[in-house]
Amino acid sequence: MKNKIEINGLKVTYGEKQAIKGISLDVVENEILGIIGPAQSGKTTLLKVINRTLEFTQGTSIEGSVMLDGVDINAMSDVHGLRRRIGMVLPLPVGLPLSIYDNVAFAPRTAGLRNKAELDEIVERCLHQAALWDEVKDRLDSLGTKLSGGQQQRLTIARALSHQPEVLCLDEFSIAVDPVTTMRIEEVLKTLKNDMTILLVTNLVQQAKRLANRTAFMLNGDLIEIDNTDVIFSENPTEQATYDYVNGNFG
């Protein structure tokens, strides 16, 4: 098994505030790594480091290294290329005020793809993968922002898949999605992991239990424990804090 991402001694500060206090972990290729932890534990920050969108926040500093396929991401000169290798789904869907079709076709088009047939194929594939195709196939030209919240979230998943990323990061994707749709997306993720590596940040611990091969527990910027999901959710994980959080008697 090959490591897709290797994080070593990662520290992130926002001004004075330490958001990540030196964590090291590996993400194995084609696994779903669940990342759980209470609010403020640094989960979103970790994802933003990986696709280098933390650069847009003023006053941050990063120490340590993040390797993608053995290459330090901060040493990569083509940051846009890096971001195309990493799909990102944010907690609340950000619908671009474009048609459903254009929402998905935007990234491939910007990357230079003009062939209509290829674009059609990408749009259809991504919408299928995001479990949205059947609901929108007859109105691909209507505005993406007019869809329901759950549909918009699936549209952002389709958009994130549109440049065939090697890594898919999902940050609490189910906040705005109903339970039935959540289950459908979870099924999709199980098949997607054959093609890519998935980082699943979630505050539904049961979601990590259902999906993740391994689970990492983060607390206040520290990585408390990372292990196979069945160990984390067993009666005796290494850390007491993990047991308490997973079983809901935290704090």
Partner: protein
């Protein structure tokens, strides 16, 4: 930036006071004698020639507004807010934009036209630029600033280049805010054009009773319409749908 607002206010007041003083001061006041009229090319010219001169400013008007918009986008998106270029530009433009259009108009009339007795292309152009550029700049800057960061981050996360993020998403979002500024700028310059026409017609036919000449009322009505458009567009500060 907050610290500098009182300074801007004071400086603007100072400029206005000096302008008022210069205009109202008798020594500087240009009294139009019959003999003077001969020397003043502007007054010996028939009034429609003044109208022509104003019309010839149209390209300058367009260019000046475009420069304001482009400058604002470049400054806001590419120059860090802490840098001195940003601070100085922001400061100077805030002052220029804060001055009511009528002062630029009066300055133009009293100092550049009457004092020199000639209408120089440069003076007119400068007036148009001062009238419109700062307004176009400020409203573009505000419109671009108010585009939600989440939109930018979502587009950047797709691996899209900065220039493309701005042209494909930031500018369409900011569209109505920018257009509002364009209308304000046009309205300001039309207003001053109308004002100058009224003033001159009145001055030349000083014995005639006061009336607003037709060509001036065209400008004034256009100024009014633009100003209304601008205020309506301002209500819709960020576009939810991109313009077609």
């Amino acid at each position: 930036m907050n610290m500098s607002y009182p300074i801007i206010l004071c400086l603007t007041c100072l400029i206005l006071l000096v302008t008022l003083y210069l205009i109202l001061d008798n020594r500087h006041n240009t009294v139009l004698e019959e003999s003077d009229l001969i020397d003043h090319e502007i007054l010996t010219d028939p009034i429609y020639s003044l109208q022509d001169k104003i019309n010839s400013m149209l390209p300058i008007l367009i260019v000046s507004i475009l420069i304001g918009i482009v400058f604002a986008v470049l400054l806001q998106e590419w120059v860090p807010a802490e840098s001195w270029i940003y601070r100085i530009s922001d400061f100077i433009i805030a002052i220029l934009a804060g001055i009511p259009s009528v002062f630029y108009g009066l300055l133009c009339v009293y100092y550049f036209l009457l004092k020199s007795g000639r209408v120089s292309y440069l003076t007119q152009s400068l007036t148009v630029v001062l009238l419109t550029m700062p307004i176009a700049f400020q409203s573009t800057q505000n419109a671009v600033k108010s585009v939600d960061v989440s939109i930018r981050e979502a587009v950047y996360a797709l691996g899209v280049k900065k220039s493309k993020v701005i042209t494909a998403h930031v500018l369409p979002h900011a569209y109505s805010g920018i257009m509002s500024g364009v209308y304000t700028a046009v309205s300001r310059s039309f207003f001053v054009a109308g004002l100058i026409l009224v003033t001159f017609t009145w001055t030349i036919h000083s014995r005639a009773s006061f009336s607003i000449p037709k060509n001036a009322s065209v400008f004034l009505i256009a100024a009014l319409l633009c100003s209304l458009c601008s205020s309506l567009l301002k209500k819709q500060s960020v576009n939810t749908d991109y313009p077609a």
